[in-house]
């Protein structure tokens, strides 16, 4: 029993540190507020004005779920870079030498990253209310839980990469190779109907496609796949990434 309490305390300690730093580093908080605004108004109004409606929704509304997923994707993946800074500045040693398992250290970091991303989701949901996205409390809760699951998967990828690299520059390079293909070869900005076959094939093996599909389904009622398939794909993907994350942390 006390072993479990120790591990929970460890997770809490690591998470609490991340949460405090997040609030204290003004740049992080400000970018959480600003970048979603850019995404929605940049993409939605710019590209959208020329497109008319998609599946009965204005383009800005149609891509709203995709933009939210994208914000979660970016914030979560980039969170992995902090682990490299922590290591450079030796903050991490204190945690790595503590008598808590690496799985708990990983869990604490992962929840810290997910917290960053979910704060951003809250900003986005508030913006959503002002641009007539059909949100109600039930939808908000469902979307929030799905996005949390997505965030956990993406933070885990970021941490896996961060734990295996030494330089922030290297991290930036690798993460761009993960992030942009994931984003563009998904259904975040367009529907899966009428795509060339090769593109369809790629989007189908991209886990982000299922994430966008689930969130879009919950918010707008447009689903390409059954929701349980979406959730199953995300859970399996998150599970694999978490395992890789714990393994990477053990080697640190």
């Amino acid at each position: 029993m006390s072993e479990i309490m120790n591990e929970l305390d460890g997770i809490y300690a690591v998470w609490l540190r991340e949460a405090k730093i997040y609030v204290r580093e003004k740049e992080r908080l400000i970018s959480s507020g600003f970048s979603p605004l850019l995404w929605i108004f940049g993409f939605g109004t710019g590209i959208g004005s020329s497109l008319g409606t998609v599946e009965g929704y204005p383009y800005q509304t149609f891509i709203y779920p995709g933009i939210v997923v994208m914000a979660v994707l970016f914030t979560s993946l980039f969170y992995g870079i902090y682990i490299i800074w922590d290591r450079k500045l030796d903050f991490l040693k204190e945690v790595l030498v503590a008598p808590v398992s690496r799985a708990s250290v990983f869990a604490g970091k992962m929840l810290g990253g997910a917290t960053d991303a979910m704060v951003q989701v809250i900003f986005l949901m508030i913006i959503g209310l002002f641009i007539n996205i059909p949100l109600n409390p039930l939808i908000v809760i469902q979307a929030f839980l799905l996005l949390l699951l997505i965030s956990i998967a993406m933070v885990s990828i970021g941490l896996v990469i961060g734990a295996n690299l030494k330089s922030p520059e290297g991290f930036g390079l690798v993460i761009n190779f993960v992030m942009w293909p994931m984003f563009f070869f998904s259904n975040a900005l367009f529907t899966l109907e009428n795509l060339p076959a090769w593109l369809t094939a790629i989007t189908f093996i991209n886990p982000l496609t299922y994430a966008v599909d689930a969130v879009r389904g919950v918010i707008l009622g447009i689903n390409h796949f059954p929701i349980y398939l979406d959730i199953a794909v995300m859970m399996i993907f998150s599970g694999i990434m978490m395992i890789l994350g714990v393994l990477s942390f053990r080697r640190m």
Binding site: A13, V14, K20, L92, E94, V97, P99
Partner: protein, 330 residues
């Protein structure tokens, strides 16, 4: 505080034990088949120049680095197979500062309490205890990035001992601090070792630090122990006193044959003699040398001991030079 009773580790198994422990980084052998036995309650020093392998050895003992070969036990636990038990037994102050800049002193300590399993009921009390021990109560709620170097070091020391570890590792605890702060920290360490009956292993390249603090000192160079004893013994047995003589035509060979002379060296026209005990033998020595221009006597230091074994001074060998020297030596 906790751990009352005697500290005597007589007859008990060593608290820290290593057997031929080694660590290689590619072609560099940072730690080279070291054997150590450290007893309970001891303040044990590793003295050596930069790059000697001190930090690497400590990193292995506190389980954040795996040895390339060899074995070690800390508090009776194997550092590789029982690393989590080792971690529960130790406190550590790293060479590089590892307190969190964007947290306050108190928050850093609170985080440590959680990570090191200090029971809920006594967490607050422990924090107050160590804060007062290192005189940081007044600044406890300020962010660490407003602290001076000495304050950070004291905070780290407080953190390292807050969970009452059986064994405390200190890697260069006073590196870069002003002399006054340094002496302060020496006092804390000595007090702690006594009151808490803690075993302390510290590394340093300041010989005064090793002389002042340590019950025993291992002089380490290129990953190997070159001498190990109490500072007093090391100095007396190896060096004794150093006599510096200036003379036109010194008869070095004759000096070498005197039974109390341990070593004769000539540097920049001056003769340096290590002799067993100057107060007894100086007269006799001068009788043998004949007329001289100048004589000066001083007690031997650990630096002389280091010089004796390695032919270099700790300071000469110091300053980041370890890597290149080692690379060139291979």
């Amino acid at each position: 505080m906790i751990n009352e009773g005697s500290c005597s580790g007589e007859g008990e198994p060593a608290v820290i034990k290593t057997e031929a422990i080694s660590k290689k980084f590619g072609r560099i052998t940072a730690v080279d088949e070291l054997d150590l036995d450290i007893e309970e309650g001891e303040i044990f020093g590793l003295l050596g120049p930069n790059g000697a392998g001190k930090t690497t050895l400590i990193s292995m003992l506190c389980t954040i680095m795996k040895p390339t070969s060899g074995k070690a036990w800390v508090n009776g636990f194997d550092i590789v197979k029982q690393s989590s038990k080792v971690r529960k037994s130790i406190g550590i102050v790293f060479q590089q500062p590892s307190v969190d800049d964007l947290l306050t002193g108190r928050e850093n300590l609170a985080m440590h309490n959680l990570l090191f399993g200090v029971p809920r009921g006594i967490r607050k009390q422990r924090i107050d205890e160590v804060l007062s021990l290192v005189d940081l109560e007044k600044r406890a709620d300020d962010l660490v990035n407003t602290y001076s170097g000495g304050m950070r070091r004291r905070l780290e020391l407080a953190r390292g001992i807050m969970h009452h570890p059986k064994i405390l590792f200190l890697d260069e605890p006073t590196l870069g601090l002003d002399p006054q702060t340094r002496e302060h920290i020496w006092e804390y360490i000595q007090d702690l070792a006594e009151k808490e009956c803690m075993t302390v292993m510290l590394t340093t390249h300041y010989m005064e630090e090793a002389e002042m603090l340590c019950d025993r000192v291992a002089i380490i160079d290129y990953g190997k122990i070159v001498a190990l004893d109490s500072p007093h013994e090391l100095k007396n047995r190896i060096v004794g006193d150093v006599v510096k003589i200036k003379q036109k035509h010194p008869d070095i060979e004759a000096m070498k044959h005197l039974e109390y002379v341990r070593k004769v060296e000539v540097k920049k026209g001056l003769v340096y003699l290590s002799i067993k005990d100057a107060s007894q033998h100086l007269q006799d020595l001068l009788a043998h040398t004949g007329p001289i221009d100048f004589v000066e006597v001083r007690s031997g230091t650990l630096n002389d001991v280091f010089l004796h074994y390695t032919g270099r001074e700790i300071r000469e060998a110091g300053a980041e030079g370890g890597f290149m020297e080692r690379a060139m030596k291979k």
